[in-house]
């Protein structure tokens, strides 16, 4: 029998090692798996490389991990979001490394990682500072840069409802990066609002099929 539901947040984040590459879902705080990120902080794990659209809001979730010095590097499109004081302080003090990636390139690099694609050429950032040093090719008269996939050790995602197979639905704009991140990691852990019986989710509305999900926790 398949049952991906684990009893606690502690079980949900068990086994995550120092130095892991962690995909953190959300756009700002919407869709951010704050409870999972808080639980990850409580494990004492460190030296993390976190991939997220923004570098944390307030002092919880990703911001909490950064505040406690657990994050070596963030890869994101726009570090500053609503109340970014924790990241800003760490960045100014030189305590955290930042890689800025255009937002669409960030999600596409994870899709490539998820899809077994070794890289792709994209027009975004060609001829700009963020495209510097990247292999550039002219295709159909326009410049493209080569981008490499992101494959992660862990994805921490947030969804609305799930069944025990790990099928997921999302709510409104809280979907954002969560589906692609769920696909792009060796271990995908999802914080859900509600568990429902197998068969209760309309198959036409499942946005992330359970094949991509390893652990579920209600929080």
């Amino acid at each position: 029998m398949i049952n991906k539901l684990v009893p606690s947040l502690r079980d949900a984040v068990a086994g995550i090692k120092d130095g892991a590459i962690v995909l953190c879902g959300g756009f700002g705080q919407v869709g951010e798996p704050v409870a999972l990120l808080n639980a990850l902080r409580d494990t004492g794990v460190r030296d993390l490389v976190c991939v997220a659209n923004n570098a944390g809001t307030g002092e919880e979730g990703l911001a909490g991990l950064i505040k406690d010095g657990r994050v070596r590097k963030v890869i994101c499109s726009f570090p500053r979001t609503t109340d970014p004081h924790v990241f800003e302080a760490a960045y100014k003090a030189g305590r955290i490394e930042l890689e800025v990636v255009p937002q669409g390139t960030l999600s596409e690099r994870m899709r490539a990682g998820a899809a077994g694609i070794g890289g792709f050429f994209i027009r975004t950032a060609a001829g700009t500072k963020l495209g510097m040093g990247k292999e550039t090719r002219e295709i159909g008269g326009e410049l493209y840069v080569l981008e490499e996939p992101i494959k992660a050790d862990i994805a921490l995602c947030r969804a609305d409802r799930a069944d025990r197979w790990g099928n997921l639905t999302y709510r409104k704009s809280a979907r954002n990066f969560n589906p692609v991140m769920a696909m792009a990691a060796a271990l995908t852990v999802v914080q859900v609002r509600e568990m429902v019986a197998l068969g209760a989710l309309d198959p036409e509305c499942i946005a992330t099929p359970g094949i991509f999900v390893d652990r579920l926790v209600v929080a």
Binding site: F27, G28, V30, G31, A55, C76, S77, F78, P79, R80, T81, T82, F87, E88, Y91, L98, V100, V101, P102, Q103, G104, T105, S107, E108, R111, I122, R123, T124, A125, A126, G127, T128, K129, L130, Y170, R171, K172, S173, A174, R175, N176, F177, N178, P179, V180, A207
Partner: protein, 223 residues
């Protein structure tokens, strides 16, 4: 001579959005455009975080914390709207499915280069968000910007001094003083505010200007 207010710039840009267009509004000044769509036009607003059919800000009591715009402010969905994930949101942007992107800028060059993502101020961490994707991917990029900086330096330049968002992408610029087209013959003045002549506008513009034969006075209602 009376420059347009920020809301009037947004009003002017909104008049050019065609019925049926799929439109992305950048953070800041462009966001105001949604208040000024002429009656009778059906426009579909796209948001990079996975929304088509974004509506106005919610009325008190109808806020939903899971429904935000690219600037992370609460928003709404109109009838016919839809949600999707980030890859599809940016596929729409880069793949030429968005008819118009209205963006803010630090600088625009005579060739239509756009600089709007970093001033390289060491006091802030850099961030690009979806700006580069929109600049290369939308079918048409139009910029809304104050004609000069607060200390009077031109924002319409021969070449951008700040790092580029994308080269040769801007088609039209709406400013406090004028409506300009980036065209083969140069930066063409389509409209200027009352009391300003080409020499007066040129004095506040670094890029060389060409006056369109059919140029008009730029006027906007009090909004």
């Amino acid at each position: 001579m009376k420059p347009l207010s920020r809301r009037q710039i947004a009003w002017r840009a909104a008049q050019d959005i065609e019925d049926g267009a799929y439109v992305n509004l950048g953070i800041g000044l462009p966001t105001l455009c949604s208040d000024f769509i002429p009656v009778g036009r059906e426009i579909v607003f796209h948001s990079e975080n996975g929304i088509l059919g974004m509506g106005p800000a919610p009325t008190p009591g109808s806020e939903d914390p899971d429904l935000i715009n690219a600037g992370k402010q609460l928003t709404t969905l109109v009838s016919g709207g839809s949600f999707f994930h980030h890859n599809d949101a940016f596929l729409m942007i880069r793949g030429g499915h968005i008819d118009v992107a209205l963006l803010g800028a630090f600088e625009v060059s005579a060739d239509g280069d756009l600089a709007n993502w970093t001033t390289e101020d060491p006091n802030f961490s850099p961030g690009v968000g979806g700006a580069m994707d929109l600049a290369v991917g939308a079918k048409e990029v139009r910029v809304l910007v104050e004609h000069t900086t607060k200390d009077g330096r031109p924002r319409i330049r021969r070449r951008c001094a700040y790092p580029l968002t994308a080269a040769r992408c801007v088609k039209r610029v709406y400013t406090t003083l004028a409506v300009l087209d980036i065209a083969k013959e140069g930066v063409v003045v389509r409209e200027m505010v009352e009391g300003l002549d080409l020499a007066g506008l040129q004095a506040q513009t670094e890029a060389e200007l060409v006056l369109a034969n059919d140029w008009k006075r730029l006027a906007a209602p009090q909004v």
